[in-house]
Symmetry: C2
Subunit: 424 residues, 2 copies
Amino acid sequence: MTRTSAIGVEAAVATVDGNRIKEFIDLMASITEAGPGVTRLAYTALERQAHEVFQARMRELGLAVTVDAAGNSIAELAGTSECSAAVGTGSHLDSVPAGGRFDGIAGVAAAVEVARAVVDSGMPHQRPWRFVAFAAEEGARFGQACNGSRAASGASTLSGVAGLRDSAGITMADAMAAVGLRPDAIDTAAWDPNEWHGFIELHVEQGNVLEVTGTPIGIVDVISGSSRVMVELSGTASHSGATPMHLRRDALVAAAECVLVCDQIAQNSQHRGTRVTVGKLEVEPSSITTIPGRVVFSVDVRDVDGDRQRATARDLLSRFHAIAKNRDVDIDIKTIGDTSPVTLPARLVDLVAAEAAAHGAPYRIMPSGASHDTQQISKVTSAGMIFVPSRGGLSHVPEEWTAYEELVLGTQVLLRAIYALDQA
Amino acid sequence: MTRTSAIGVEAAVATVDGNRIKEFIDLMASITEAGPGVTRLAYTALERQAHEVFQARMRELGLAVTVDAAGNSIAELAGTSECSAAVGTGSHLDSVPAGGRFDGIAGVAAAVEVARAVVDSGMPHQRPWRFVAFAAEEGARFGQACNGSRAASGASTLSGVAGLRDSAGITMADAMAAVGLRPDAIDTAAWDPNEWHGFIELHVEQGNVLEVTGTPIGIVDVISGSSRVMVELSGTASHSGATPMHLRRDALVAAAECVLVCDQIAQNSQHRGTRVTVGKLEVEPSSITTIPGRVVFSVDVRDVDGDRQRATARDLLSRFHAIAKNRDVDIDIKTIGDTSPVTLPARLVDLVAAEAAAHGAPYRIMPSGASHDTQQISKVTSAGMIFVPSRGGLSHVPEEWTAYEELVLGTQVLLRAIYALDQA
């Protein structure tokens, strides 16, 4: 049987087509707010529209589609034997503001093409194959990333999603309800580990390791965690001409010190590997002739070492407090996200590596700097990740790019790897 | 005649009424965009609406009202003798975003009450008395302050106002035309020095010197100049997790260094008296999980010493360039405003001081940290300024406040001083 099946998967792999992948990605990129790049934020009508496209494609292939309370779309191709525990693949369809067309979508496009190749080729397999589009992976809107997969892992609660707010003050729960989802039933979205055998996500690298080393395939062994806070500094807004320097309580000068401390700590050799980013910083009242009275900024601390990640976050907070005290401004810090790094099972790393090698695709085993849905799914079942190159290492920007031949190769290795899981 | 007139002015002064001043200020405060405080920006329909209220009040008193090409509203009470050179008072009706209800408006309210007191009391006077509401004093929208009075001083040109833009990219010339003004005829707004004998503006201090010293009246001897630039830093936006620290070109980290340099230079003893403010700072793409690719910020340098003001601005620009080079980000700097400090004539300072003393009002002679229309008007005629206290030294914020009894006292001294000018 192994020999027959192996011939089956080779035939399916041979049909993976870059034009179909491109057509899907282009279509998704058209579902966006106006402005540069792609803006399709978590729990918006645009995100749901993208999910409906995915669902329609899956139904056209004859798959059964469900949408859970958290907005994850799951399509199932029935298994052909008595192995009921499924194998799966997928990624997310939401974007950051003014992001690119590949982040998340590449992995969903690969999943759609894998499903198509399996269905069209009639490739025999034994387990149920599930194809997943996760909801709300990006933390850009609500601070906390991976909310769809977090619900799938059973980690989401109504009180949790009711406590997260976007910059307009809308809670995640209200945003979910507004697009027809069911935050009050979010616990029903949890996956049953007994139904799962393994999961593999394809994603763009979002860094430049694969490009610089000329490697087409990355296999992730550890995914960075992230600690995120919003810091609010309140001083006194007043006239920029009439207020002498020594009487100022300038919230922006204090914030500038905090931004530099973030950079200095992350650049320090004691913190090698930590990345600290202030991505969002808003000044009020934002007038040329008024001393800033209030500044709110985000801090994102990432590390593959969870102890170092959280120690860095704690260190930063105490330094922020010292800066605020020294500058005589008030400070308020809210934690908006905290995710531990995850080591992916060596069995999955080895399995993907073996399939890449069998396919003749050079690969390297590497950490992921970014968070991914796989981080959450690894709590439910054995999970692995395949990276494809990002041009210039750019991501979360309109210039984000991966060549379609690289996506084809990644999808082929993905199909082989899921098939290997199916047979394992 | 002096004795009769002195009795006349005392009678008029006695009628100055805080309730009327308050009613006018409250009415003006209701003409605002939604949101905290007062937002009635330069060359908007709201600003014109405020001017129409002023014009109507003046017409009710029987004064002739004209509006010039730059949007300044000027009301004239005819003189009663052959002295054709006018005396005048007034201030501005526009605000910064989320500003207070006294900045500028206090001086217009005082002018309206002076006009009413003179008309109602039938106080004899010999010169024409002019009451002015200047347009577009605040630099918050277009960077350059005092555009109405600048036109009155003959310093405005069509090419000048066509070269200033607000943050939406609208030129001042287009904004003027959109509210029915005539930027192409702006040179016709210039005042003829031969028509003027002197001008005195009442304004809130916007600092806390009067409050701290318990002095109700300030008499300005020198007004600070200001140099203003907009700085644009361009780095590379990318993923906050996947981009290692050493490969970043973070525009916000570079901007934070610039903000701190502004503070350090102004706090340095070599720059005593200089004030440097970064009031506006905008980050793009402004996402928690994206390294800032672009930051634009304003720098406002103020000093009563013009050489030091401009040397500080030059010093800052060279340091910004060094920071940008060191951080490997691109930099572009645009000058958006440059006004010299102005020393007001000692004759006017002495005249106002004598009237304050005669009225029994404690006063102090002091510099102005803020720019004022008087700065421009001093190029046309002898000009003076009266300050009234600002509670807590706050201005350009919703909390801006001056007690109405302080406004009454200031208006009384103003009326006496204009009368003294009239008789001089």
